[in-house]
């Protein structure tokens, strides 16, 4: 099995995708992160769901979490409006997480080594410089702990 065969489809967003659209994708498909690609489909960065949550918390609450207790439950009412006004670009962390990249003909052990070295939970798979999918750590474990004959049969 190579990286191309292990890769799974994932929703892609662009820097100018609305943050609300990104949040709705994460919410409805329960994704921990989205891959941000450029116009040519090359992966630029990863937007973690926790970063979107961070954007929803007012700065004064981030500075003094005890204020959260006294706030009424208004966050949900304004979250959609707040997100609708911003593109994904504005939500990316300053220290952007780079998405590690594997080639479609890399072996399982090459992908595992990359993941291990960078301690990352997800790797983008490229073919002819275009992203064809991602391999998550749990997907890699699925390949690694499934006996070879079961894998071949499925």
């Amino acid at each position: 099995m190579n990286a191309g065969e292990m890769a799974e489809e994932t929703p892609l967003v662009r820097l100018d995708t609305s943050a609300l659209e990104a949040a709705e994708l994460m919410a409805s498909r329960r994704l921990p992160a989205l891959v941000v690609v450029d116009k040519a489909g090359y992966p630029l960065s990863v937007l973690p769901a926790s970063q979107v949550v961070r954007f929803l918390v007012p700065a004064y609450v981030q500075d003094d979490p005890s204020l959260a207790r006294v706030l009424s439950e208004k966050m949900g009412d304004h979250a959609a409006d707040k997100l609708a006004q911003r593109p994904v670009r504005d939500l990316l962390p300053y220290d952007r997480e780079e998405l590690p990249v594997a080639q479609h003909d890399d072996t399982v052990i090459e992908v595992a080594a990359l993941m291990a070295r960078l301690r990352c939970p997800m790797v983008a798979v490229l073919k002819s410089n275009r992203m064809i999918g991602v391999i998550t750590a749990s997907r890699l474990l699925q390949t690694a702990v499934t006996p070879r004959d079961e894998r071949d049969a499925s």
Copy 2:
């Protein structure tokens, strides 16, 4: 809505659970991480799937990733045996990731503030000092971007 209502069930493992059992849980349910609890059900740590992948990569390949290319595809054949011999305890990173903890009566905004401050994708929810579930960042976004009337109807 409070943290107890948002919390979702997640599989729990103990320090002495076999690493193979943990890997199989991650593989079959496609989980990015498992929560490790003590005998009383109190959360101790998080075992990320990427850490299990790391354990499967031989040290000499971690040191020199170019060796991965020349290795044959044997990892899968030995992965299960290698994992079966170790408890979860041995796979936890030295700099253990602490799982942030919320109380069941915390508000959505309190959970969001905790997640934002610690930049973590998952929070354990406690009731009477026992873990009743987790809230992931995507679950929190689901609450935040769903209009209140739709939430009440569901």
